[in-house]
């Protein structure tokens, strides 16, 4: 523990700016991934343990499209669309067969997909580390606020994640699609009885959640190394965020992501050896005092 170092940091403008933006960066990427998990659970009541593989697919597809097109925006958009479609296929061909089944069966199906996708990535792209490198548009010197350092690409990443979060919330809250999806989440058979093809909406929600993972992978690709199996490393944290925020709550995922992000960024200074422990402690406290999560709905 080095609380003295933490206090010193909190008393220094440059350190506060650097660590705050660091926390936002970590949080916003986590939010994109976790919002996909929570959206799928909220509507379909399914925990997508293969979500990390979709993130990995997004990163690799973005890398490939970038090599071909040379445009980062094209590659990021292309990755989101491609992974969204992969998600629809995954839902239609596999997950829809285990809706309502024991959670262990759903876990088995997802784990099989994780193993297969890790090996597929190895076959298609090889086992070596791949790096996209910073796209030319963002090769700019870091910005300075109050002596703190903020890379321009990270500002883009934070802004994109927030914009996507806002659009997602508006879609779910205000659009016809969102209304039907929310109704299907409460009572799918009744919505179906009204003549609405609920299965299509289920597939669309899975596709949307997958696209969120895909865009997260594309945003991470310029700054993280690509290796087979990279999806596993973000899966645990995204589940922690989902549990803390509340399963099925986008707003909860947003708040929880920021909480985890700031815990990591300031914790690396104040309690570097306990950062993971503190994250799990927060999760444990939420499970004890508010098991449905900070913004989750009560389970009936």
């Amino acid at each position: 523990m080095d609380l003295e170092a933490l206090m010193r940091c909190l008393g220094t403008g440059s350190c506060v700016v650097t660590q705050l933006t660091s926390g936002l960066i970590i949080g916003m990427l986590l939010f994109l991934i976790a919002s996909g998990v929570t959206l799928i659970f909220g509507v379909l009541n399914v925990i997508n343990f293969a979500h990390g593989s979709l993130y990995m697919a997004g990163a690799y597809i973005a890398w490939t499209l970038y090599q071909v097109s040379g445009s980062y925006f094209v590659s990021a958009l292309g990755a989101a669309v491609a992974v969204g479609l992969l998600g629809v296929l995954f839902e239609r061909l596999l997950m829809s067969k285990v809706y309502g089944s024991n959670v262990l069966m759903q876990l088995l199906v997802c784990y099989a997909v994780v193993l297969i996708s890790d090996d597929l990535v190895k076959i298609l792209w090889g086992p070596r580390v791949l790096s996209m490198g910073m796209p030319a548009e963002f090769r700019l010197p870091p910005l300075r606020f109050m002596g703190g350092v903020v890379p321009p690409f990270y500002l883009f990443m934070i802004g994109t994640a927030m914009a996507i979060g806002l659009v997602l919330s508006l879609i779910i809250a205000r659009s016809r699609f969102g209304k039907i999806v929310r109704a299907a989440a409460v009572n799918g058979p009744m919505v179906s009885a009204l003549g609405i093809r609920v299965n299509l909406y289920y597939a669309a929600v899975f596709g949307l959640g997958s696209a969120l993972a895909g865009i997260a992978g594309a945003l991470a690709a310029p700054v993280r190394s690509l290796t087979p199996g990279m999806g596993f490393s973000i899966l645990i944290e995204s589940f922690i965020v989902t549990v803390i925020g509340g399963m099925g709550s986008i707003a909860g995922a947003f708040v929880a992501s920021l909480l985890i992000g700031f815990t990591r960024s300031f914790g690396s200074i104040g309690f570097p050896l306990f950062v993971d422990g503190v994250m799990f402690l927060i999760m444990a406290l939420v499970l004890i005092f508010k098991p449905s999560g900070l913004f989750g709905r009560q389970q009936r």
Partner: protein
């Protein structure tokens, strides 16, 4: 009468027993003969999947460069060498299970353990129990062979040893620290056995050679951690003159990519022992300037025809560049072939161990064209160690300074005494 009967019964028993023995011998003989005349089976537990799959791929590549050539010229006394490669997925318990299976079920007579450190320690315990010959080719954690409590007579290490790199690297870093007045250091290494021991040993010897060096902060990211933002900002906040890192593989690439965003490498000198490997140094897109790297494997280190020939042969057959793991496995294969020739193909663990212990062989990776398997602790010495300045273009390293082995061996003795290993 009774005694005559008793003698007859005994004779019958004797004849029955002899007959049974003879039958067993006749049935069993082909199997025994096959064991000595069939292929020499070598089990290779390694990592072929997940984030470190490249470790397994390039390790097996290094073995092929030697074994394929031996098989092309008829094998050992007419017996071909057959590798049986299995994936441990990087899990130590799986590495132990796979090793047992290779010996008990696949009939492997020798083990080349191409696991990372966590797996290697698990495999060591299996070898202790079973007693076949084992060569650890990738684990650099010093204690595997330095600690006499872990010693197994039939287990050897051809991987570079952390303490050797630390002494050579510490000396190199101290010279630069004195020249450039690099007094305040920060470290950033993965939080597991290799990262911790490697970093502690490097800084110990950097301070030994320049006692004005002080470590002002340490960052310990988790192994395979995807995001290094908070680690980079912590290192920045330390406001040090220099940084040492034992990060490797994809973690190192991610750290460099993220560090570049903050201009981390402009603000301090950086020493990264694992940057020099192909697959890393040629994959980083925005290469930082002025980063010093250890010599992992490079086709120009040493700058000999033998090294270049081996590199060309590797690339031609394996279709990718070799890594540090590749040369370590190639040396293991060379030592094994040399030992098998001495035992006339006998794969008995004790006999092979006797043949390998103290062996000195020609090698393109040795400082003077040879490497030696040191008898006192079954570990490899005299391989090329050193540091140079990393660069983004072929040959990816310049101004390489090869460390001398005399001071390394002297200081290693003192280190072993301090650790209670001697």
């Amino acid at each position: 009468m009774a005694s005559t009967n008793a003698r007859e019964v005994n004779r019958r028993r004797l004849l029955k027993g002899a007959g049974a023995l003879a039958t067993a011998g006749v049935i069993g003989m082909p199997a025994i003969l096959k064991g000595q005349s069939g292929a020499i089976k070598i089990g290779v537990p390694t990592i072929l999947s997940g984030r470190v799959a490249v470790l397994g791929q390039t390790s097996v590549g290094g073995l092929h460069t030697v074994f394929d050539k031996v098989n092309e010229t008829g094998g050992i006394n007419g017996r071909k060498i057959e590798m049986v490669v299995r994936d441990s997925k990087g899990a130590p318990q799986e590495a132990a299970k796979v090793t047992r299976d290779l010996i008990n079920n696949d009939g492997c007579q020798i083990i080349i353990d191409a696991e990372a450190s966590s797996g290697a320690f698990a495999v060591q315990e299996v070898i202790r129990e079973i007693g076949v010959l084992c060569l650890h080719t990738n684990s650099e954690t010093s204690s595997l062979t330095a600690d006499p409590k872990l010693h197994v007579p039939t287990a050897f290490r051809t991987a570079r040893q952390g303490i050797h790199d630390a002494i050579g690297g510490g000396d190199y870093a101290a010279k630069i620290a004195k020249a450039k007045s690099l007094k305040k250091w920060v470290t950033c290494s993965p939080d597991y056995a290799y990262g911790r021991s490697n970093t502690a040993e490097f800084m110990e010897y950097a301070k030994y050679f320049d006692n004005s060096i002080q470590v002002v902060d340490e960052a310990w990211p988790k192994l395979f951690q995807p995001d290094y933002t908070e680690v980079v900002t912590k290192v920045l906040n330390a406001k040090a003159d220099a940084m040492y890192s034992a990060l490797w593989g994809g973690d190192l690439v991610a750290f460099i990519d993220q560090g570049n965003l903050y201009g981390l490498f402009d603000k301090q000198a950086s020493f990264m022992v694992n940057l020099g490997d192909y697959g890393i140094v040629d994959e980083v897109k925005q290469f930082p300037q002025g980063v010093y790297s250890g010599g992992r494997y490079n086709r120009t280190v040493p700058p000999t025809k033998e090294n270049e020939d081996w590199y060309q042969a590797y690339v031609k057959t394996q279709k990718h560049k070799p890594t540090n793991w590749s040369w370590e496995n190639a040396v293991a294969a060379e030592l094994l072939v040399d030992a098998l020739r001495k035992t006339n193909g006998d794969t008995n663990g004790k006999k092979l161990a006797e043949a390998i212990k103290g062996a000195k062989i020609k090698s393109p990776f040795g400082v003077d064209g040879t490497v030696t398997m040191r008898a006192e602790d079954n570990t490899l010495i005299n391989y090329v160690i050193g540091y140079g300045l990393s660069q983004s273009k072929d040959p990816y390293i310049s101004d390489f300074k090869t460390s001398s082995w005399e001071p390394i061996l002297e200081l290693e003795k003192a280190w072993k005494k301090k650790q209670g290993y001697a």
